[in-house]
Subunit: 129 residues, 2 copies
């Protein structure tokens, strides 16, 4: 990792970190939570598809700050995706990308239900030292 990259990362983290000035100075990130039930027998195919789209989103989209995909330990067919964008426009842009559309097509017969929740951040605390 180059020093230039570190500086950019640091700027992103400062935006995301809940210091005293959080939400006062910089723009507040836009956060969504997706709760997904998938077909358990297609778990591996689902995981491959979601990994591919997250990697592409982080690589290509400046407005995607974080996409965390996790499976419940007790029920691996229950997936949570915690999504952090710079703002709501970045989320709308994400929906129009080729990698997101590919993910939606690849998983349309795997996803049994999808609940999306818009949220308002209370505090987005992330380690920066």
């Amino acid at each position: 990792m180059e020093f230039r990259q570190l500086l950019v990362l640091s700027a992103v983290m400062l935006t995301m970190t809940g210091g005293p000035s959080y939400g006062q100075g910089g723009k507040e990130p836009y956060v969504r939570v997706a709760e997904i039930e998938i077909d358990p027998v297609q778990l591996e195919a689902y995981q491959a598809a979601v990994k591919e789209q997250i990697e592409a989103a982080l690589r290509i989209e400046p407005g995607v700050l974080a996409l965390y995909s996790v499976a419940d330990k007790e029920n691996p067919a229950h997936i949570t995706v915690f999504e952090i964008y710079t703002d709501v426009e970045a989320y709308k842009t994400h929906l129009e990308t080729a990698h997101f559309k590919k993910y939606k097509t690849a998983t349309q017969d795997i996803v049994k239900s999808l609940k999306l929740r818009e949220t308002v951040p209370i505090l987005l605390g992330v380690k920066r030292r």
Copy 2:
């Protein structure tokens, strides 16, 4: 922010980022999701308590990588906390800290229900450039 801090941050981010070697080389983070229903009339008191404990956890605990607390836009009394620790031991340590115990005491009459889910990460993708 000093360069030393940037380097440590970069190490944390590399651990958390889903590159090709994620989960193969370094230790996989331990991720939990808490779903909390609070008393709507005590929203401000809850938010103050959770902010205080998150800020302390990030400042004091080396094993806490991120604590994201958000409220549903449609129902601000529904809180989600997305929690990333270096490992399960770091989570156990967190439960024993003074700031976490203070938060539990301060919110015991505010929290109406609490559902905790242990998860297995599929991909923890976070921007690092």
